[in-house]
Symmetry: C2
Subunit: 240 residues, 2 copies
DNA sequence: CGGAGAGTTGACTGTGTTCAAGCACCGTGG
DNA sequence: CCACGGTGCTTGAACACAGTCAACTCTCCG
């Protein structure tokens, strides 16, 4: 079995923007002809980051903003007590992260899960570019509203659902997002999250997540092994 | 003791927009001279709603959007099981709610807590008005990002903080917001939330919220009685 | 006076945590 | 090729925070 590409040091390198498969779906693309050329001029290069490395730290001044070209990462907050709450997971094509356009200091941290490549933009340039295009500004607001809806859905999970439901819904959400990007067939998927990541995203402990995953396995719903997710019973999963 | 104005049927009625004290802080005001006149033309009147009435139901098509002129309300989601998760509380001057500008169907419900008056706008008109003003579009995005930050802070609460901390932080947040609007001196405030509302916002039960409030009273931190909040020890509260 | 709704209290239960030990896997280096 | 150490996963026992259920009180209001 070949190494998972998510764990290699240098994932696929972006060529130029006009051939980039992620571009058409990006929030900063208005679909016009000249768009790719403009964005290519806006792009300030790329950066490779190894797995489990810090990308932003809470309080950093963000002059540069990144788009995740390849690999997985996550946004989180750290408490004084050392506890961690993961806010969201970032998949290939996701911006890191939209609010950065408007905040002088980031109010969360970001860390790579796998090796990752980032496309680099200057915040001020990207901001001007969007502001000059009402069409894009509207699209940007839409992105923000959708992120809001996702966060609120997660809020409902933490407030009112059992550990079993939370874990199931998180996995389902990630598989759906991967599917939308053409990175999974909904039966199998790369899955670089550890039990501790799942726990920190869902307000649980890694020990309990382990027990819940055992239940899922016992029920024949899904199994998670060595960075690989397999879904045996999509029906049962969707039921949540 | 006079009746609390939050529970009267018809709260203060808005005059015209140019004399409205809420306008300068509203997200749809760019601060220009002609602004109030334009908004006054945009405004399609007002509506009074009694306490504990439904304002939006999840799935509704929203042609009209509202700004809360007076009174308290809250946004929430209902689960199949009948459980409720409150997403946020709305105070005088808050829009209900920003995402409505971009969503054809609302993905949450809204209910009045006290008697309420709403200023009414047509969604399409408001949307066009903002889109035509890049300055406003940017302001709108900022509002959205701030709402996002608040929701993520709540997410951290539900995921990683004890019941005692959650209740304390919620009360502190509301007092700060009231203070910012000139509606509280941080020592006392109207507080129309019941224990069930607090519980549904924080992922707890009303019984347990009752116990936590008793602790706060016993510790001499704050007391909550008959729709009135009194803070005895702001230090201890801010410590959370 | 009577009823509804919200808050209070107590006993009991349960979901998820804590702590601790052991195991499997994997990359590294001899 | 194997020994080593680190990290992450598994398991079990004891515990705690918060939930459930049920009875009771208080207040408001008709």
């Amino acid at each position: 079995m070949p190494k998972l590409d998510q764990t290699t040091l240098a994932p696929a390198l972006p060529g130029n923007c006009s051939t980039c498969s992620l571009l058409p779906a990006a929030f900063y693309c208005d679909g016009s002809d000249g768009c790719a050329a403009i964005i290519e001029r806006l792009r300030r290069g790329q950066r490779g980051v190894r797995a489990k490395r810090s990308i932003y730290r809470e309080g950093d001044v963000a002059q540069e903003i990144y788009v995740l070209y390849d690999g997985w990462a996550f946004r989180y907050k750290l408490l004084h007590s050392g506890q961690r709450q993961i806010l969201s997971f970032l998949l290939p094509g996701d911006p890191i992260s939209f609010p950065l356009l408007h905040l002088d200091r980031v109010n969360f941290s970001v860390r790579s899960l796998t090796a990752v490549t980032l496309c680099i933009f200057r915040r001020s340039e990207m901001s001007d570019y969007i502001a000059a295009r009402p069409q894009l500004a509207k699209q940007a607001e839409l992105i923000c509203v959708q992120a809001m809806a996702a966060t609120e859905e997660r809020l409902v999970d933490l407030g009112r659902r059992s550990a079993y439901e939370r874990v199931g819904k998180l996995i389902l959400e990630l598989v759906d997002r991967l599917h939308a990007k053409g990175l999974s067939d909904r039966k199998e998927a790369p899955f670089p999250l550890g039990q501790l990541h799942i726990a920190d995203a869902l307000g649980l402990t890694s020990v309990h997540v382990g027990r819940v995953l055992r239940q899922f396995r016992a029920n024949g719903v899904l199994s998670l092994h060595r960075g690989r997710l397999t879904i045996h019973d999509p029906e049962a999963l969707a039921q949540l």
